[in-house]
Symmetry: C2
Subunit: 214 residues, 2 copies
DNA sequence: GTCTATACAGTGATAGAC
DNA sequence: GTCTATCACTGTATAGAC
């Protein structure tokens, strides 16, 4: 018999869907409990607070993600004393992107959650700001094309996103006060990443440097 | 005569300070207007809404940041047909990190704002989650040390932050559905960045490969 | 234990007087 | 421009029904 899920799970499901559609801050507990056909007080009974409910929604997905990551990491480390760097990085990256950019039903919904949670830093502030300063990024993209002629422009756009993400994350999380050293590291890291895509993917064999990873 | 600033500016200053200390969501308009010695309705009169006030606080700082970036970019592009990639990236990165990790009075306060705004994705959710899954990142750090023996561990920690930032940002912002291509690009980008720090900075000359960027 | 009804203090926003 | 008064709504807490 497939009875309706328990109240606790109905709340989690409704919360996940509404958070993804509207954002955390914009979704009220009354909306959630109404969609879950539960009483308002049930969420505080089962989870303790709205914040704890948000955490529970995340935990349900992140547990699975990190299990998948570690399983793939074990596979990359198994059998060899000298594991492959690319395989290690794939274990970190692929399960995450499959979750957010994949087509599976649950995954797709969770992608929108994560998108809201991490992009929607206070409602639509981030979207408004990045649109407002998009011209700055366009200027940098043009400059990099000059510095690295022949770079694939779609790939460059992605890589600029990588760099901006690394920079933003570092600005937000890093506790170190040593801005100079961090900046040096990030510049070196980003430059190597950008150069690697030029040397690896140029189809006309002018100066292929595939032996770069000897 | 240095009269007290206009109401509009007093609100901006108070909001910036309180947002930085408490976060957006946790700071009420009543706190702000009280600290600014203004009336509650003044914020809606001058800015229209709480969201618009947040945006105004950001714009005041980001305008200066992006001006500094573009000025430095122009400098990097001037005088040569073939600008230096590192100088371009420094123009993007250094002014931002100077603002958030520097010691200037205003900058330090703004650093805390940005930190709250971008890290404090819904109160302390992000802190709780990253603590909960910190062991996963530790496992990956260990794996990378095996794959890249001799890598500096402080630098590796920073670079892992770069990768996580790039990944998070991409999960949140990227609209492309092509998870496989994005993952490939990120893996290649990150691997090149990591390898560059090993080959460039090893002090014992065993296998210096500085000619890697020939 | 699970769930409900209800009450409460505090929020952002707004209309209208001064 | 500024202020007071008020509104609908929020998350949370509690007392009690099943």
């Amino acid at each position: 018999m497939t009875a309706t899920p328990a109240t606790c799970d109905r709340i989690l499901d409704a919360a996940e869907r509404l958070f993804a559609e509207e954002g955390f801050h914009a979704t009220s507990l009354r909306q959630i409990t109404q969609a879950a056909e539960a009483n308002l007080a049930a969420v505080n009974y089962h989870f303790g607070s709205k914040q704890a409910l948000i955490l529970a929604v995340f935990r349900r997905r992140l547990d699975a993600l990190n299990e998948a990551r570690l399983a793939r990491l074990d596979q990359a480390l198994a059998g060899s004393d000298q594991p492959d760097l690319e395989e290690i990085l794939e274990a970190l990256v692929v399960p995450a992107l499959a979750l957010t950019h994949g087509n599976a039903d649950d995954g797709h919904r969770f992608m929108r959650i994560l998108m809201r949670a991490f992009a929607d830093r206070d409602d639509h502030l981030h979207r408004a700001l990045s649109a407002e300063y998009a011209h700055v990024m366009r200027r940098f993209a043009s400059a990099i094309v000059i510095a690295l002629p022949g770079i694939d422009e779609l790939k460059l756009r992605r890589q600029l996103d990588f760099i901006v993400g690394a920079l933003t994350h570092t600005m937000a999380e890093s506790c170190s006060k040593d801005a100079r050293a961090i900046a040096d590291d990030l510049v070196q890291f980003a430059a190597a990443g950008l150069r690697s895509s030029v040397s690896v993917q140029k189809p006309d064999g002018a100066s292929r440097t595939l032996e770069i990873h000897s």
